[in-house]
């Protein structure tokens, strides 16, 4: 009996261990020099709470935070770039990341995936890469995000006054 339990726990551990997730990938690379990591909180939107509709408020509450991890290419890390890109591609192929759409041309590519089910989305993953500048993975985390909520979030975004301070680290990626 005991041995069965041991076996079960062990196999459970192994199955957890072997499954690479974006979460792990983020943690592993946050200190890596090749990467730029960034956490963005909803406060970035600088919203005037009073002006929001009830719908927009609930949508906003379902949105938790946004994590960004970006790889910037320079002369030394081109080989590394290919390796890391392959890693991200493998992670995103996992079943839990359900792909919504994908765009690619020879030099650049982008995809949008999500975790959860249609009406209860836990995580959105945006992934973009470009041959000569690098790649970026954006995780939008939340609780119970739903399609309607996202639409109202987008409408909020239009009226928001985005706090550029929080996005400063990303400028490094864009400037060459």
């Amino acid at each position: 009996m005991k041995s069965i339990f041991l076996f079960l726990t062990f196999s459970l551990l192994i199955s957890c261990e072997s499954k690479p997730t974006l979460q792990k990938y983020f943690v592993e690379n946050i200190e890596n020099k090749n990467f730029i990591a960034l956490d963005v909180s909803p406060s970035i939107l600088n919203l005037d709470q009073v002006q929001l509709t009830a719908e927009q408020k609930t949508a906003l509450q379902s949105f938790d935070k946004m994590n960004v991890l970006a790889f910037k290419i320079n002369d030394q890390n081109k080989a590394q770039f290919e390796i890391e890109k392959a890693k991200v591609n493998t992670i995103l192929k996992d079943e839990q990341y359900q792909q919504l759409m994908k765009f690619s041309s020879g030099k650049e590519g982008a995809s949008v995936s999500f975790v959860g089910d249609d009406e209860h989305i836990d995580e959105f993953v945006l992934y973009a890469n470009r041959k000569d500048s690098g790649f970026a993975v954006i995780r939008i985390l939340g609780k119970d995000m739903n399609p309607t909520g996202i639409m109202s979030m987008l409408s909020v975004l239009k009226t928001s006054n985005i706090d550029m301070e929080q996005l400063k680290p990303l400028q490094q990626l864009l400037s060459k």
Binding site: M101, S104, G106, P147
Partner: protein, 181 residues
């Protein structure tokens, strides 16, 4: 018993992969621009609550619910164009697609094929192949689902997909004004 289930599952899965994989090799190639929209996306878009009084929006949503996959591949390379033509031809044969119409516009050949469902206007798959010209891309488009041919004009109005204009002509049955684009 369990083994049987697994075998059946495997067969089913590999089959679907093969069925959808006819053009997947073009995805990610250097000279190819590809746009792929999955069923999940259409599902999700159809769940967005829209104004119930807006007829166009309602029509649009009911159409989106019926769509499965949209794949568009475009290229400027002749090598890839030939490959596309070859895989399209073999796919048309194996999947049993019927030609809906063929247009020759300004020297570009446009072929539109469909796989019909129960009714004549019901479409399970729509395939379009537009030959490239000097400055224009070759376009290969595949749309799967279970929709009505007449619904498509709504879609082409709302989505800007390559070849949308040609599709519109096909669904309306008129050739429209000719002229250089």
């Amino acid at each position: 018993m369990k083994k049987l289930v697994i075998t059946v599952l495997l067969v089913v899965f590999t089959n679907t992969i093969f069925a959808q994989g006819a053009f997947d090799k073009f995805d990610g190639q250097d000279d190819v621009t590809s746009i792929i929209v999955n069923k999940k996306m259409f599902d999700m878009m159809s769940k967005v609550k829209m104004d119930a009084t807006d007829k166009d929006a309602q029509h649009y949503i009911s159409l989106i619910k019926k769509l499965d996959n949209l794949k568009v591949f475009t290229t400027k390379s002749t090598r890839v164009e030939n490959e596309m033509r070859a895989s399209a031809t073999s796919y048309i044969k194996s999947a049993g697609l019927e030609e809906l119409m063929r247009i020759n516009e300004n020297g570009r050949n446009i072929k539109i094929l469909v796989k019909s469902g129960a009714k004549d206007t019901q479409v399970r798959e729509l395939l379009m192949f537009i030959e490239g010209a000097k400055n224009d891309d070759t376009v290969l488009m595949s749309l799967t689902g279970d929709f009505d041919l007449n619904d498509l004009s709504v879609l082409t109005d709302k989505m800007r997909i390559p070849g949308g204009e040609e599709l519109k002509k096909a669904t309306k049955g008129s050739k429209g004004p000719k002229g250089p684009k």
